[in-house]
């Protein structure tokens, strides 16, 4: 195909220009040495007690308009029922592999087996777990794994209920990135509060295209 030839010569030309601009080619070795020499004096490890980290996460989530409940592991099912009841949702999609004991019998949970976007649009909400949560920024991180599922599942429905286990909560962004490194090639979404915009006069408005409501249950 003609495009391949164009892109091949463009590729060679762009790389040639870069090397000429820098006065030579770079190598894996040079990159490695240079990268290792980058000064990283910023805070990487946690500095708070565990209890303070969980309090901070709760506070930061609330600050971005998420509702938060903290319960022991055994009470997750009851907390889910309460959140769903308060929000007035009945029919919720869940990704495959979500813990059965988290589901509450009084509601309808539909397991996602490749639902279409239109079908997801018809759901009252979605419930998932999370890979890691970051206290300093009030962020939950979702990956395409069991209990978290495809990205679209947590996007199209208007309500997202997320269960975060306390052992998955970290204080800082660097701690979270370190935990994600092993699975960095999975589709990953960092969620900090419900969808929002400040495009109109810099006024923060909750809810544009993603879920307009985010509830978080901190479990354990």
């Amino acid at each position: 195909m003609a495009t391949d030839m164009v892109t091949n010569s463009a590729r060679a030309e762009v790389l040639r220009r870069i090397r000429e601009a820098k006065g030579g080619a770079s190598s894996a070795e040079a990159a490695l040495i240079g990268w290792d020499a980058i000064a990283r004096q910023y805070k990487q490890a946690a500095s708070r007690t565990r209890e303070a980290v969980l309090d901070l996460l709760e506070d930061r989530l609330r600050d971005y308009d998420a509702r938060v409940m903290r319960v022991v592991e055994a009470e997750v099912g009851a907390a889910v029922a309460k959140m769903m009841h308060d929000h007035g949702v009945r029919r919720i999609v869940v990704p495959g592999g979500l813990r059965a004991e988290w589901l509450s019998g009084e509601f309808e949970f539909v397991v996602d087996e490749g639902l279409s976007a239109a079908e997801l649009d018809g759901m009252d909400g979605v419930m998932t777990g999370a890979t890691v949560a970051i206290a300093e920024t009030g962020t939950v991180v979702l990956q395409n794994t069991a209990g978290q599922g495809r990205r679209v599942v947590t996007l199209v429905p208007d309500y997202h209920l997320c269960v975060v286990r306390v052992q998955d909560v970290v204080e800082t962004v660097p701690e979270a990135i370190a935990r994600l490194e092993g699975t960095a090639d999975l589709a990953t979404t960092f969620v900090s509060g419900p969808s929002a915009t400040a495009d109109i006069e810099m006024t923060r408005i909750k809810g544009v295209h993603g879920p307009r409501f985010l509830d978080v249950i901190l479990a354990g």
Binding site: T3, V6, A10, E13, V14, L15, R17, I18, E20, A21, K22, A25, S26, A30, A31, W35, I38, A39, R40, Q41, Y42, K43, Q44, R60, Y64, A117, A118, D121, T137, G138, N144, R150, R151, V152, L155, V173, A176, A178, E181, A184, D185, L186, A187, T188, T189, F190, S192, A196, T197, A198, D199, I200, E201, M202, T203, I205, G207, V208, H209, G210
Partner: protein
Amino acid sequence: MSGAVLDPKTAPLFPIAAKTAMGDAQMRKNVRHATDVIQAKRARVVAEMPDWQELREAGRQIRQHTMENLDFYLEEFERNCTRAGGVVHWARDAEEARRIVVELAKASGSDEVIKIKSMTTEEIQLNRALEAAGVHAIETDLAELIIQLGEDRPSHIVVPALHKNRQEIREIFQRKMNLPELGDQPHDLADAARIFLREKFLRVKTGVSGANFLIAETGGVCIVESEGNGRMCLTLPETLITVAGIDKVLPRFEDLEVMLQLLPRSATGERMNPYNSVWTGVDATDGPRVFHVVLMDNARTEILADEEARQTLNCIRCAACQNACPVYRQTGGHAYGSVYAGPIGAILTPQLQEMHYAQSLPYASSLCGACYEVCPVKINIPEVLIHLRNKVVKQNTAGVAGFFDVEATAMKAMAMVFRSERRFRAAQRLGRVAESPLAGKDGWIGWLPGMLGGWTQMRDLQEMPKETFRDWWEKRGKNGN
């Protein structure tokens, strides 16, 4: 001015465009309000970070290191992205990038594409090229939608419609979405956009995006956004086409730990923006089945070749410098005649034009340094501005033209005067005599002749004191009286 695109090749000189912009009181009020709010938010969340300066320094070093090894990291990104099922294309310039995207969009079988806000696609005027090829581009970011429906032009890197207030936005939506009853509360307007776009998200099969970061180590791409329109465009279409400048590469996944702290706090004053997406190639069960990345040079290698200006490429497009700039805050973005406005635009735009156009932009600054102070990757914008002014002068005074250049001759004469005390004193005496017919009774000069008139166009000049400091110093007695 609506309908026209921001093109540095045809835009008027900054001082002329700025003068027109300064006459628009409503726009100036809107820009002032928005930049005040965003600056206050930024200051609050930056103050929360005791290690902010260390993060900035790490950010600077990561970006500098990337540029020093750009060829290596681009090839590494290409290898890993390809292995994960992505298709990588290279484009030497805007024209080539447009052609590749148009071809890919048409090959995807769509006559519509949904778009994520992207400065790179604005830079290359992609939408016009798509329209010309019969492919309708739908902007899905709220601000970009306002711009597109209002046939307006972006005026800010992060909040492109910040020059519009809610009444103006309501008027556009009422007209273009056929909603005569629409209210003017921000949530009314956001709801209207949600309903207007949802049907398009669910229907259109091709998405076009820019990129915030290309991760060399994994072949992944990262996009940060707020509304969820980005996630819609990244996950619902069957084909995704990402256009990225070659400067967007990041060495390793770990480097996100720095950038994801610097960017949201600097850009929108949030601890983290609502959504960050990272994806790698294609995933059979999640998102588009076909994924293309276009790596575009478009004069970035020219900037790389200029060692003093190379740091321009470190920019992560947070727009903190725009919000902090006393010039931008007065003129708004359109006066810069480029999608990149404000201090970063003043250094980036002329360089992207290889210094052939937008030569007035390096002068669109008071060199106060506010931009440097807020830059999350410590780009010394004033330093680059001066370097580029120097380039402009050299370019304009090269050869015979320089011999007859009045400004250059004046500067040379000035240098001669400043080199000798005798000549300096003589010049001061001469100055006092020469200015006397111009000064008013109050000691202020409101008008200067010829080239000097630029100074008094916007402000008065105080007349020279009757006695200079040197005269006073020499006359004073031994004990300081």
